[in-house]
Symmetry: C2
């Protein structure tokens, strides 16, 4: 029953397209959901996708378009006239339509808007275009059912009947006062089980969570997750109901935020994915590589100040990578835990000093384990107690310091309102690399001089 | 309007608890949602939370309990009699109740179950306990409204009225045949606008997406995200409707999966958070540290085979950290992009060779930029053309190799059905460290010998 896109299936489709076997293709496409069709399109060459696109009825293409990869959607839209695009937008939810029109070249945006036949839809879309990216306004749709508080259940049901074409899935009816200000909601369940003559004011629920048009999308996902909401009404500064955000849009936001965090942790500065252009991919990665390179240069300066020591004891150089890598690994482990705690709010409140102490405790335990093991290895393999002691003492010191830095850096960034995930990747690694080398050679000089 | 938990607010509450100012506390608690109260509880000491708990009405505590941190919930439940726990479970949704009972010590689970007054609820919970963690069965709730296909709208509304106590929020009515097999659904909107005498079979929607009880939770989140679903019915092997999963549970799953990926990338092997015990935190981190240490030991062996060279040219040692760090950084960047592409399905299909070529292209561009810069730095700072050439040639080679490995390793793991995120962190870094050092010293020997 579940659709799965396999290579064989794709090959079958491709040859049917090559043979222009419309009958067979129509049969297949008829059975699929828009999301499945979009998945197929994303794997085809543009000409193949365009061929299928032309086979599909208008209502289906309007559902498929918003689900496509940006690149494929861009190519398909470029192949349509402004009139055809306008027809597509007319069939979409207002939020999807606004997203699509936002991607069009600016010079044709107003031309497309003016060709949308349904004036109300056109004005809804134009309205949505005004809101800033990353705010509730940019995420909301205008399709909703609202009812005046002094009406009856039967009037409300008539209203729903009227709006039935606009609103695909309905979760609740919003209750507004005579100035269109949101004052509550009415669940469909309550509507179903109430008598037609009942007044709305007797049955509506005045406890309602809403957001302003300028609320940040990250706050919205947090609110919907925390209060287990499926739909969230959006109000303007006067408290008037202007739109609603549904959970499916927010699920995408949550996923995108997680992806961005992973990219930040990996030292990729822009929001890119693997289908982007070569040049864009390079540019998104070079900044953190340069930061890492500066770290490497500082490291080389530190080591060069111990040049004599290396000439006498070249075995000191053997363990440079081990010390650096362990510092980096421990630092990333610590900061990942902190970044995660900050992201899901479990670190709010004032338990910060115990947190630092705990990380240091973990560092101490793991440092002891690792440095004992490496001491054993060095004694067995080289029987130089000097080197074995230097490496082990340096290692445990580095691990404890790295635990501290890995905890301290993201917390400090957070306090200065910089995204702490930024610090978890190359930044902490580089810092720990430098720190590790410094500690290692310092301890080396101390021990070789004293023994 | 939105609740925010500040340190001041928490202090105020704490002193009111210390003064046993019940009147004030009741007033505050009355205005809050269960999720807000849970957030407060999580920040309080157990005795303080317990004091507030005793002030709250039973229906509220039943909503607060499932939202608490595991530790706080465990302490609160331990302070209740089995009878009191049973009363709480009676007021919960069946899925929350099953989760809570799963956390209780095994010896009291059946005692608690037998004391639940509502027999139907007790049997629902007992049923849910049978499903394996990580499957649809473990995520679903039993509360749903279903109707036989041969009934009428008015019979359906009567059914909803009857179940009104059980089901908090209703999204749809499920339509089943005479054998309780799921055959479709009826949106509440359609129910509202249809005449009471209409037959369900005339208006229900036979296109319905469902999952089996043993479907994995990661597949469920993917299905709900892809098809923009708010609720998903669960069927048994005979196709009978047995429960439903709502999006709010899945949002939590999506978030947890993202967190787990971040932990895997950071070299933390178990699912831990910062509130876990010291020992558990250590144990979750030590495996990858040991892998990193083995990598460091291999690195030390490689360098030690160039001991003579280091004695003659100690400046070779200066750039060991730079080469290692750059290999690591580039590898993580490449594999993060691939892991992300695999996670959101944009890499399915067969475009793998172009993907590898693209990563190599990015590696070439960034490698050229970095090695040119470091060449300039070395010429200016040391005027040894030998060293400058060795570092730059090694750097660009390492970057290109690291791009390749960072792409190849996660793709290979994925092919062998191992989670590719596992490879993005310490594994790729360690591999690239070793590779980087090998390349660096090889090129060093070649160039110093030829010049």
């Amino acid at each position: 029953m579940q659709f799965e896109l396999t290579t064989d299936y794709l090959e079958l489709l491709r040859s049917a397209i090559a043979e222009k076997n419309d009958h067979y293709l129509n049969e297949i496409l008829n059975d699929l959901y828009a999301a499945d069709i979009a998945e197929i399109f994303n794997q085809l060459e543009f000409e193949e996708a365009k061929y299928l696109y032309d086979l599909l009825p208008e209502e289906t293409t309007a559902e498929v378009l918003p689900e496509l990869d940006e690149e494929m959607r861009e190519q398909l839209l470029a192949s349509l006239s402004t009139k055809e695009i306008a027809e597509q937008l007319d069939n979409m939810d207002s939020d999807d339509a606004a997203d699509v029109i936002n991607e069009l070249p600016e010079e044709i945006q107003s031309e497309v808007l003016s060709q949308i036949e349904n004036i109300e839809q056109a004005s809804d879309i134009a309205d949505l275009l005004n809101y800033e990216e990353g705010t509730a306004g940019s995420l909301m749709a205008k399709e909703l059912v609202s009812v005046q508080v002094d009406e009856t259940v039967s009037a409300c049901i008539d209203e729903i009947r009227k709006q039935t074409d606009n609103v695909d899935v309905m979760y609740a009816v919003y209750v507004v006062d005579e100035n269109e200000r949101l004052i509550g909601m009415l669940s469909l369940k309550k509507l179903v089980i109430s008598q037609p003559s009942t007044k709305i004011e007797e049955i509506y629920d005045a406890e309602i969570i809403s957001v302003k048009t300028n609320t940040a999308t990250s706050d919205i996902s947090e609110i919907m997750r925390k209060y287990d909401l499926v739909v969230l009404p959006v109000i303007d500064t006067l408290g008037r109901l202007v739109g609603r955000i549904t959970i499916d849009d927010v699920v995408d936001v949550i996923r995108e935020e997680a992806e961005k965090d992973i990219q930040r942790m990996s030292g990729i500065s822009d929001d890119v994915d693997s289908s982007d252009k070569l040049w864009r991919l390079s540019r998104a990665r070079i900044p953190w590589l340069l930061v890492g390179m500066c770290g490497g240069i500082i490291g080389s300066r530190i080591i060069s100040s111990y040049e004599n020591q290396i000439q006498i004891h070249p075995e000191m150089a053997f363990f440079i990578p081990l010390i650096g890598a362990m510092g980096g690994n421990v630092g990333v482990q610590s900061s990942a835990i902190i970044v995660q705690g900050l992201a899901n709010n479990t670190l709010k409140g004032e338990k910060l000093v115990p947190k630092l102490m705990k990380e240091l405790g973990v560092g101490l335990i793991n440092g002891l384990i690792c440095s004992t093991l490496i001491f054993g290895y060095n004694i067995l393999s080289s029987d130089s107690i000097n080197l074995a002691s230097i490496v082990s003492i340096a290692l445990i010191t580095v691990i404890i310091f790295a635990s501290f830095l890995g905890t301290f850096v993201p917390l400090t960034l957070y306090r200065f309102k910089i995204n702490p995930a930024l610090a978890t990747g190359p930044f902490v690694t580089t810092l720990n690399d430098i720190l590790g080398i410094t500690i290692y050679f310092l301890i080396g000089r101390l021990l070789y001089n004293t023994i």
